[in-house]
């Protein structure tokens, strides 16, 4: 990821596009936190689960990953609803840390299930276009990065539309702002949380496909991407879709700039320092509530 050339524009553009992917991954995490104040520790692994599902569809059915979304989005949607309804939701009744620990348990189960099913070998989603590249002027970039960025913008806008224009979306927003007031207005908050999580899983399904097309993944990739998603959400602000998107861009650019100036080994260090700084100065993030 660190470009050795003297040209600074390339890393900046790559950082922006990569930021789109990071935002795409982080949107679900941000939504869940904004609505339920829950840090879904299993989010990264759920994204990677979607990558594996796409891999299975590609390998055994020859389905193009994006086409395969027709299957995986509903699957992840339902899975998300069930997880929230029967695992996390029950946890909320016990204490505020219980859902966190349950999410951690889910993460463990997913990682190890994937490891048993797919071996630790790294996999990738390879189609006719995943190795293509495009040109901006004289500079060459991987095509998947542009696809990621486009997907990030589309999903972010779709989520914003959902939250502001549909009944369920507005119910979700209401429940996240003031649970009791929402209940008084006749909103079944338990069901709303279920749908919120389901929607977040739908976006995770999309994220998994694009992740798989961009980078190779292993059963434990979820943890690294969870950290990046965390960083994105912290920087951009929890609960704000647009904020998460910009957070992703900022993180992506910081990462590539770190790699450009300090070498590839220091990329993530810059990101961690940035996250710690934001936590120290403005924990709600740049655009958060």
């Amino acid at each position: 990821m660190g470009m050795g050339s003297g040209d600074i524009i390339t890393p900046i553009v790559i950082g922006i596009m990569l930021g789109g992917l990071y935002a795409l991954i982080a949107l679900g995490l941000s939504l869940v936190f904004g609505v339920m104040r829950l840090i879904n520790l299993a989010h990264g692994d759920l994204v990677v689960l979607s990558s594996y599902i796409a891999y299975a569809l590609l390998t055994y059915l020859g389905l193009d990953p994006v086409v395969g979304l027709v299957i995986s989005i509903p699957f992840m949607f339902i899975l998300g609803f069930l997880i929230q309804r029967y695992l996390l939701g029950k946890g909320f009744a016990v204490s505020s840390e219980t859902p966190l620990i349950i999410a951690f348990g889910i993460s463990l189960v997913l990682q190890n299930l994937n490891q048993i099913l797919w071996t630790p070998l790294s996999r990738g989603l390879n189609t006719s276009y995943t190795h293509a590249s495009f040109f901006l002027g004289e500079r060459q970039f991987p095509a998947t990065y542009l696809l990621d960025f486009a997907a990030g913008i589309i999903v972010m806008l779709a989520l914003r539309l959902f939250l502001t224009r549909t009944y369920m979306g507005r119910a979700i927003s209401a429940a996240s702002q003031d649970k009791r007031a929402a209940q008084l207005m006749g909103i079944n908050t338990n069901r709303v949380y279920g749908y919120a999580f389901a929607v977040a899983m739908g976006s995770a399904a999309i994220a998994g496909v694009f992740l798989g097309m961009t980078f190779p993944f292993t059963p434990t990739s979820g943890t690294s991407f969870l950290t990046i998603a965390f960083g994105t959400v912290i920087i951009g602000g929890l609960g704000s879709m647009a904020g998460t998107f910009f957070g992703g861009i900022i993180l992506g650019v910081f990462q590539t700039m770190g790699g450009y100036f300090l070498g590839p080994a220091s990329q993530m260090l810059i990101v961690y320092v940035l996250v710690l700084l934001i936590l120290a100065i403005r924990p709600t993030g740049l655009f958060g509530r």
Partner: protein, 321 residues
Amino acid sequence: MERLTPIAVVVVIAVLAALPLIGAPESWILYVFLFLVYLAMANMWNLLAGYAGLISLCQPAFLGLAAYTMTVGTWVGVPWWLGMVGGAFVAALFALAISVAVFRLSGVYFAIGTLVVPEAIRMVFYLWRPVGGKMQGAGAGYMVKGIGNLSPQEIYWLALVVAVGSVLILRGVLKSRLGLGLAAVRDNERCAASSGVNVFRLKLYTFIIAAAVTGFAGAVYYVYQGYIEPSATFNVKWTMTLLLATVIGGIRTEGGPMVGTIVVVFLYFLLARYAGYSLLIQGIILICIMLVSPQGLVGLARKTAVHPLARRITTLGRKAG
């Protein structure tokens, strides 16, 4: 009957201490050693997360810093045992240093902040070679020097001392004014603060104590290993093990970490050949525990144990039956 429990405890410790002497297989010694190290750290994690409400995910930073201090010390002539003490001290200092920043964060943000710290430190140790020449490729690993004449048994006994010490320290803290203050803070932080409890200082002392003991246990572990490098040391796997052990056993119970660590190490031992299954099972157990019996196995035993002996064991000799 009240005196039965301390005698039982002494017997158990004596048996554990005697294991290397009676010719137990070396793999057993290794697993018990792991159990002892994890127990010490789990007790401290329980103190932080269960009793002080600090869901700290930066234990790897403490144990790693202490272990690195000890290791680097051996390269500049400091004997390993002195380096261990120094390491614990460094870990405690580090806890002090980050406390100002992280205690401003509450709940979930505290967890995130402490999660990032070991990752950042791992990067630092990838890039920074305190002593010794440049290494080929990445890694920045170090051999621990000056331990040639140490036998595994001696380190094993040291681990036993650390584990027992951690139990005593935990007990000591909980029975002291610090423990009383922590209980008050846990019940209602604002109330405690207005009653004159210095919440920040309480949390700070707890943080420092936990960091020092965790660090010391980490240094003991790495003396046994003989080699340290950043990616395995500052790894979230440590946190995972401690969390699993404490929660499965029973968070906020004195016996919880002990029971939980036994389960974790036992599963690890049983399923060592089947990569992934042990953690898969632990994940499932964790989810079930949280839904069925949030107080862990100890809580489950307390609720269902009718036999007074079982109840006594799970309350570890405290007066209330």
